[in-house]
Symmetry: C2
Subunit: 348 residues, 2 copies
Amino acid sequence: MTRKRLQKSADAPATVRTVAALAGVSIASASRVLNGIGGSAETVQRVREAAARVGYVPNAIARSLQARRTGLLALAVADIGNPVYVEMMRAIEEVAKRADYQLLVHATGADPEGETALLEGLARRYVDGMILSPLRIGDGHLTALRRSPVPVTVVGQLPDEAPFDNVRADSHTGVLLAVEHLATTGRKRIAFVNGAPDTLPGAARMTAYRAALAGVGLPYDEELIEIGDFQYAQGRAAAARLLARTRPDAIFCANDLIAAGALHELLAGGLRVPQDVALVGMDDTALAEMSFPQISSVSLGAAERGRLAANLLLSRLEDPQLAPRRETVAPTLTVRASSEARQEERHR
Amino acid sequence: MTRKRLQKSADAPATVRTVAALAGVSIASASRVLNGIGGSAETVQRVREAAARVGYVPNAIARSLQARRTGLLALAVADIGNPVYVEMMRAIEEVAKRADYQLLVHATGADPEGETALLEGLARRYVDGMILSPLRIGDGHLTALRRSPVPVTVVGQLPDEAPFDNVRADSHTGVLLAVEHLATTGRKRIAFVNGAPDTLPGAARMTAYRAALAGVGLPYDEELIEIGDFQYAQGRAAAARLLARTRPDAIFCANDLIAAGALHELLAGGLRVPQDVALVGMDDTALAEMSFPQISSVSLGAAERGRLAANLLLSRLEDPQLAPRRETVAPTLTVRASSEARQEERHR
DNA sequence: ACACTCGCCGGAAACGTTTACAAGACAGGG
DNA sequence: CCCTGTCTTGTAAACGTTTCCGGCGAGTGT
């Protein structure tokens, strides 16, 4: 049966059989040598040489089919332009690399079809597991998650009964931290520029804002609310509308991109930050540090969420029978120049 | 030979044979129905039903092995935290999607080992092609590129004789644009904050800066040069060193992250931008627009480079025999508030 | 009634790898 | 001299698909 064409069309990529034939051994021996298990000195030498001669590169797809694993993990995020996801990605990558997985990232662009398509595409075993951080989550997602042949860990709010590994931020406490901070430093008219209210974070932050106001004994005022999406441009436009309408003494923004936009509007309007208007963002990304003045921001622990998600996923890969787990990470507030107490003038 | 176990261990994922057995047809028929080609109404119905019952999800790995294509492209960039790569990625993704490829991104972290490892790993046919945008390029890269079984398009400088599809920016002209703009608006002491000089862009921008100075008839002054890397923090530190040492009337930065850092230092030092010191960045990313004042920046056409690279890759996938091609995209300067002409006071 | 086409079907090969298994070679110990 | 154990090798099955090909039944035209 070795009378198969030993020479293929000449430039077809070399396979293990090419190598084996050239070295004059069986494909089993060739494979063993190439994987560094067994083989007499003689065969090892011959196979190595043959492999080098034809420039043999193993076909990872075939290997994965046989091994039933690829060694790849995927991260799907809505918007990789948002630095908070970059942070999360870095954390995941570190954990993954330590367990000898490579991480691939896909930006779904917040479009739910893209996300389910990804679930139905990539997750068909191109990757061994997946971390998904959706902005919205619909029935489509849930059924896609359920059918997924590989484990998926979800970062973000998930219906309580959904049986998936899940890491969530505590937006509620995070918003509370920001509002309390602003209130205790004497601000009374605390505006809120939210992202899209039909997203999970958007909805959560909105209700948390109302609750927080009540908590510190401030009245809720429709006038002080504006809505954009979670991007810079829309956030900035929303801040502009807000400032054209009313004059808050503080603005809390649903993420740092929005906060950067608001800062821009404030400064362009000749207002001093924080003396005239204080500013607090959310996610505590590099952007908050890069702005001038630096923006106070509530961290929802993106890196920590990434780490946790990665670990959940890895442990599930080891033992698929595990019961679904759910972790929540605590927010922290970093106060920077944009919301320093009023009385102290800034100096440097 | 159908006496193979029809029931596997019960919870093993369903394969096409499971479906076929359940529907009482051959695997060939099952496969055909599942791919929507042929089949009598009767069988179509039975197979569909069986597939739904067992929650059949095709194994993409197996499919790819047979089809010898995966429908995936990869983009490897050094630092996904740099918005310029985000822009490039978006452009690539759009082109890829239109050709029915999905794009996966991997951040190599500028570490050359990671990059060659990626080439040798991913490119072993997990993806159909790859776009690589390395900061440095060594012999390791070149040989890895040569052995790669899938086509790789390189974005960035490449040795002239290297036979790979290649898209490059024109750093030289870009720097010239910036320096000429600053010079013609009356700036005489134009400082330069570079990134790592041992990277390809770093080296190119350095020599271009010297040439540009000569071009506009300004003297080259060591004092006006500082070096960081291409990140914000190092760039900012470099700008701080520069300002502690001397007093330029303009700063040109090798990318927008550095420029953002320089802006921070300038403002913190109480200097007015652009009245006291003008500022120009490079890459023209979202960051330049988000800063206050907005930063003038030279675009090296990241999106366009991405588009071109994607198209080169796609056309090579169609016809592997194509001769290697090389494209260069022209830079453009966007003047914003940070470098407006001196005499006009800014207003808004 | 016969030859022909046409659509559907199943068997089997193929994609490129790893690995279980058995067989052969050889050495050492009794 | 034989038995046993170790080491190496090759054959073949397996991973889960898709697809080539030959067969078969039904319909059509003469």
